[in-house]
Symmetry: C2
Subunit: 201 residues, 2 copies
DNA sequence: CTCCAATCTTGACAACGGCAAGATCAGAAC
DNA sequence: GTTCTGATCTTGCCGTTGTCAAGATTGGAG
């Protein structure tokens, strides 16, 4: 009996499947991330993932939870590193994460493929939201405006990130002299218009 | 020979398929919008749509083009009706369209399922972008800041719309006394913070 | 040593996108 | 009026997917 063949029990298949799923997501995109593809990548039978994650949305949701955990950590880290203006730092971190990991970012905000009832996903997403809302403080305003003050920077960064990684800004970028190389400058000008508008007026 | 049975040639199948596709999109969402479902809804064989649209992305793209045409018209109409502040009016129209037609809006910005090479889609999307950028004018600024000035309101409205229809703001809305009924007020406070911040300070 | 529950495999099913081949039909050509 | 041609639609098939049911395997409790 050559023990060469993989043992029947993998041992840490759940983690392996998550790693395999992330590899596929980064290599081939969200469309190629199927239950069977993850099983192939991990070297197990096609039905193995269903045991650990229930269904496809389960696998995607657990992977998105991992993404939200990293995302939240990166936001907090950026805010902590720039105490002078944590909100702006988180805006850059927000868009930076989306550009560095477009597949993961896309997955994290694709509500139709996720199961928000999953505790891990819900917790990780809530934690990221907490990091965001902690930086935007206007305690003297009424509740509605306080909430709006927290949502507005989020919406701005999110909209910019989504439009960027969807390639929706590609035609607009051609208007710039530097072409696509000016993306960083454009992001800065959108997220912090005051900073750049005054040095040229 | 009872002419009861549908004639072999439909006559206006392309339009019927687009209408069927839109009905499915609004009734069951984007995930249920398949080539075969559209064929069933239109009462033709499962392979008929491929003749008119090539593949699934073709059907989705042509439908998205219809959506972009309406979207652009609505943006222009809103701007024209509010000459005092066309940019803010278009922001409201932007979010309003997304909330009124979440399925169509989702489709329009799902780059992975669309074929942007399609002339109809490209033209309709460009027209909508033209409407948006026409309202944001700061001609005295350098190119980068001019572009950023046009993109920022777009990103803000887009981010707010996406977060709203994805249900991502649901937990935040619970902090408001009126619950989900305050969405309109929240949208106004996010899109035009100056307006509402001053009347309570 | 026995047994059990967790883990993984095998096999099946319906639905899907896509392709190829054929059927049907309106209208042009003559 | 007949023939032909091209556009339109159908039928049939293939490979892939998610999901389920049933069975095989095995580490570890008793």
């Amino acid at each position: 009996m050559p023990a060469r063949s993989r043992p029947y029990h993998h041992g840490a298949l759940r983690q392996s499947l998550l790693a395999a799923a992330e590899a596929i997501l980064e290599r081939e995109g969200l469309a190629a991330l199927t239950l069977r593809a993850a099983a192939r990548e991990a070297g197990v039978s096609h039905a193995a993932p269903a045991y650990h994650f229930g269904d496809l949305s389960g696998l995607l949701s657990e992977l998105a939870a991992v993404g939200f955990a990293r995302f939240g950590a990166r936001l907090r880290s950026a805010a902590a590193a720039t105490p002078a203006d944590p909100l702006r730092a988180m805006g850059f971190a927000y868009v930076g994460f989306a550009r560095a990991h477009p597949g993961m970012f896309t997955l994290m905000f694709r509500a139709d493929r996720l199961n928000m009832q999953r505790p891990a996903l819900r917790a990780a997403a809530d934690a990221a939201w907490q990091a965001l809302s902690a930086a935007a403080g206007a305690a003297d305003a009424p509740p509605l405006n306080r909430l709006a003050g927290r949502i507005a920077p989020w919406a701005l960064a999110h909209g910019l990130a989504v439009l960027l990684i969807d390639g929706r800004l590609q035609p607009a970028l051609h208007e710039l002299p530097g072409g696509a190389r000016d993306i960083d400058a454009l992001v800065a000008a959108v997220l912090a218009p005051d900073q750049n508008a005054s040095d040229t007026a």
